[in-house]
Subunit: 229 residues, 2 copies
């Protein structure tokens, strides 16, 4: 390729570069919308507001998304994609069930300091249209189920004391999801410090605990309960 | 009074009975609206829906409330009125700071199984108009502050271990407020059982604890921290 032809070619993007640019623009629209949905509510956010915030025209937004419902659905999908990632913190390098659970909760808590994570908590799912609402509700149930399994596994290997995994999961997800309501991106606690503070507090409980819990009985007897310990 | 005049008088309500009836109707409108706001969202609930649900006309609703904003504001006020009641569980018969805290959290958790309590969590405050939004935000901060004080008092009297009351309060209120999202009035766990299960879980923590925490040092040295215990 001559120097002149290289210069001419560089004026055009490759197919890969175009796709990358398209994805970047799509995400920019979603991030802007998610942030506005969280701050002022779904009903009060108009497509024109999102366009104005990005310095583009409304038709540009419509090039990427059919309508506002489509954008909200995509925001929830991005949120769930973050949540799915957190489950990868579980297996492998972390030894006990408690350690796996802690790693996932820390990662999930961090999601709640980001707009896509916040959006799934701050925008009521009643704002979604069907069939998006049913799909998102199913994803929520599935994620809840994954956390319950992690809790059950930690009880099973004796790294946390016996508990009702359903109640434990509601307790945990409530505290972590609440981060979406109070965490400010310009606040004194950054995402990692926030995640650690809440996760540590959840592990310690109000009653507090200075040492790691140790199973009171040998494995074969452990699941009978905690009486007599 | 003759028998005949008594009969004639009974066809009319006394001023007290009229006021009582008016209040009962006002609350019936609010409860119906709160329940619908929680189930289908604020934007999707119309004044006509509330009227239809109560079997009355729209003008009847307008006799009690100016508009939908007025109803939402009143629902939040009813919610906060329940929350204020929970703080009365604190002093008096309960001995330690931890016991006072537990009593308030149990009562607050129960509020989250009722429509007025749920409404304050499930309807984003961005759905409120001004000046209602600022007033409600201030009430939320004040209640948060009261829980922080209860936590600080329990640390102070040594009935719970040292902690950051701000982080502890976010952890607690997240779990309790989340009840609004998952609790079903026709579910297997009633309000009291739900409140007890989540409060117990918060006290125990994920790490668990079978015995009550006891302060590791005499009172004069306690606040220096937990090192060396």
């Amino acid at each position: 390729m001559t120097r002149a032809s290289e210069i001419r070619k560089s004026a055009f993007l490759s197919a890969e570069e175009r796709e990358h640019g398209r994805q970047a623009k799509r995400i920019a629209v979603l991030e802007t919308a998610a942030s506005m949905f969280c701050a002022r509510g779904y009903a009060a956010t108009q497509m024109g507001d999102v366009a104005r915030e990005l310095g583009v025209t409304k038709p540009t937004i419509y090039h990427y998304f059919k309508n506002k419902d489509d954008i909200l659905n995509a925001c929830f999908e991005e949120g769930f994609s973050l949540f799915e990632q957190t489950l990868k913190e579980g297996p492998g390098e972390h030894r006990s069930g408690a350690e796996r659970l802690r790693a996932v909760l820390m990662a999930y808590a961090t999601c709640m300091t980001r707009d896509f994570g916040k959006c799934t908590v701050l925008v009521p799912i009643s704002d979604l249209d069907e069939p998006g609402r049913s799909r998102i509700a199913a994803q929520l149930r599935r994620f809840d189920g994954r956390i319950r399994s992690l809790v059950a596994e930690a009880v099973e290997d004796g790294s946390i004391p016996p508990c009702d995994p359903k109640i434990m999961t509601f307790t945990i997800l409530g505290s972590l999801n609440w981060i979406a309501r109070w965490h400010k991106s310009d606040g004194e606690l950054g995402p990692d410090a926030t995640a650690k503070a809440i996760t540590d507090q959840l592990f310690a409980g109000i009653g507090g605990k200075t040492q790691a819990w140790t199973a009171p009985k040998p494995v074969h007897a452990r699941r009978r309960g905690r009486s007599g310990t």
